[in-house]
C-alpha cells in the first residue's frame, strides 16, 4: 500500500531578498522552519535548506536499508552511524550525495560490511529516486 508524506511551504518575495517557511509536515514533528537563499547557497546560519533535508532523508533511508540487509544475512547491527553530505552547485544543480557509515556489527568482517553497505547505497528508496542524476559516494567502516 502506498504511503504519502506531505510538507507545506510559504514563500514571500523574490528569491534573493525574500524568505520562506516550511510551515508543517504530515507527522507534525518539523516546522515552522525558516529557509532563505543566503542560508542555502552561502553559509548555513542556523537555517535548514532543501539540500540539508535531502541529506537527512538520504542518511535516514540508507541506515534503514543497511540494517535490513545486515539482519537478513544474519548480522543484525547493534548500532549504525550514518551521514550524508549533499553538494549543491548553484546554477548547475545537486551534483553529489556522499554517504558514510560506521557500524558495530557482531561477527561480521570489513569486507562483508562494505558489501552490505554498497548494496544499501545502490538500492535504498532515496538512492533509487536520486540515482542517474547525481553521483553517489560511500565510505563504510566497522567500529
Amino acid at each position: 500500500m502506498a504511503t504519502e508524506r506531505k510538507a507545506s511551504v510559504t514563500w514571500y518575495g523574490d528569491l534573493m531578498s525574500g524568505e520562506g517557511t516550511i510551515e508543517s509536515v504530515t507527522s507534525g514533528v518539523l516546522g515552522p522552519l525558516e529557509v532563505d537563499w543566503a542560508n542555502r547557497a552561502e553559509d548555513a546560519q542556523g537555517k535548514t535548506s532543501p539540500e540539508e533535508l535531502i541529506a537527512a532523508a538520504h542518511a535516514a533511508c540508507f541506515a534503514m536499508a543497511l540494517s535490513h540487509g545486515l539482519a537478513q544475512d544474519g548480522h543484525a547491527p547493534e548500532r549504525l552511524e550514518t551521514s550524508a553530505t549533499v553538494t549543491f552547485v548553484p546554477g548547475t544543480g545537486i551534483t553529489k550525495s556522499a554517504l558514510t557509515v560506521t557500524g558495530s556489527v557482531p561477527g561480521l568482517d570489513e569486507d562483508g560490511f562494505r558489501k552490505a553497505a554498497e548494496d544499501a547505497k545502490e538500492n535504498c528508496p532515496v538512492s533509487s529516486a536520486l540515482k542517474g542524476n547525481v553521483e553517489l559516494e560511500l565510505d563504510a567502516r566497522l567500529q
Binding site: A7, T10, G13, T48, P50, A56, A57, A59, A76, R79
Partner: protein
C-alpha cells in the same frame, strides 16, 4: 562556481523491524528526530521519515525556484509537496511520485506569465531534476487574485 555542502547525521540501533533511528541536522534546524520502519510505512505518520524530509526539501526547493522566476517582491507563494512511497513489483519500496500543489499571489502578474514561470521553475528546481529519473513530478499550480 560556488560549491555548497549540506550534511546530516543519523544513529540507528537494531534491525529494521524493531530498531529505531535519530536524525540530526548540523544547521541546528532540527536534532534527534526519531523514526522507524513502522512509522515510515504507517498510514498515520507519528514520526518523520525520509519521504517526509524529501517532501519538505521539494516544497522548499520549488518555492525558491518559482520566486526566482517571478522576481516579484510582493509575491506570496504557497507550495506543498506530497511524496509517495509504494511497493513496485520486483523492486521493493520505491519513491514513485512527488505531487506539488502551488498557490501564488503576485499583484499585476498575468496568467500566461505565471504559467511560464511555473514551467521554468520546474525545469530549474534542482530537486525536481534530481528525482525526475526515478519518480514522477506532477504540478497543480494556480494564480490567485
Amino acid at each position: 562556481m560556488p560549491h555548497v555542502e549540506r550534511h546530516a547525521e543519523v544513529t540507528w540501533t537494531g534491525n529494521l523491524a524493531r530498531g529505531e533511528g535519530f536524525i540530526t541536522a548540523p544547521s541546528g534546524a532540527f536534532a534527534e528526530l526519531p523514526y522507524s520502519a513502522a512509522s515510515r510505512v504507517a498510514q498515520r505518520a507519528e514520526t518523520t521519515s525520509p519521504e517526509e524530509l524529501l517532501a519538505a526539501a521539494h516544497a522548499g526547493c520549488f518555492a525558491m525556484s518559482l520566486a526566482g522566476e517571478l522576481r516579484e517582491q510582493d509575491a506570496r507563494i504557497a507550495v506543498s509537496a506530497n511524496v509517495v512511497l509504494d511497493e513496485v513489483e520486483g523492486q521493493g519500496h520505491r519513491i514513485v511520485e512527488s505531487l506539488l500543489t502551488v498557490r501564488a499571489r503576485a499583484p499585476g502578474l498575468a496568467q500566461e506569465a505565471f504559467e511560464e514561470a511555473v514551467r521554468a521553475a520546474d525545469a530549474g528546481c534542482p530537486f525536481s531534476r534530481l528525482i525526475a529519473a526515478g519518480a514522477k513530478v506532477t504540478i497543480d499550480a494556480r494564480l490567485e487574485a
